[in-house]
Symmetry: C2
Subunit: 126 residues, 2 copies
């Protein structure tokens, strides 16, 4: 995995990674990976992220079971970010929506919920 | 555009924005916007970015003509990033590819060019 050495992790050791659902093409979330999180992601073919609020790497979906299985992986032209196409289990967003981008900004600048909730967060994160 | 006040711009005043081609679903690039770049993007319905190397906001495609026309706009669940669906003129990547994610990492960890070049950068950026 020589390409890892060429990646431009930032001063905190983080690299942004876009997660996209392979089947629907929906963009699910933007996360941040350390070199360790990226290595585990490649090794296990499941997305691992650096959770800034907890200060540690975590399997995405660790507590909810909503894991993301890696199907394809791309690096951008400047080695500044990654794109993963995944198979999403249930829903990506901790709010219970398939994508974290479930709020659309309409022409008037109003925030509109543009997809259906798939689970109630209270039942998944007790 | 009240939602702008709720966005979590970072300590440098930047917010990441994922740019996706609406028609094909291809993720094109990840860029960074200041509040000013975002305001101009909304006003003109063309993507404006903060070009860190130049220290100023620029119309995406300013020199190449490869502008991105905004069709839809979404904000993530934590107000930490944006997703724009756009109509891409010609190609998004300064290397001449439709997407900046034209390099796939294969199972052996090798970098493979996974799409066709649409223009020769030398002819577009003299």
């Amino acid at each position: 995995m020589n390409f890892i050495d060429g990646l431009n992790f930032d001063e905190k050791g983080l690299l942004p990674a876009i997660i996209q659902d392979e089947r629907s093409g929906r963009v699910l979330t933007l996360c941040y990976m350390t070199k360790e999180a990226l290595s585990k992601t490649i090794e296990e073919k499941k997305i691992y992220v650096f959770r800034r609020s907890k200060g540690r790497i975590m399997l995405k979906g660790e507590s909810s079971g909503c894991v993301q299985t890696v199907k394809k992986m791309f690096v951008d032209c400047a080695d500044n970010s990654l794109l993963f196409m995944v198979e999403q289990t249930r829903a990506a967003c901790h709010e219970g929506y398939f994508s974290c981008y479930f709020r659309e900004i309409d022409d008037k600048g109003e925030v509109v919920i543009s997809e259906q909730r798939l689970f109630d967060p209270k039942e998944v994160y007790p």
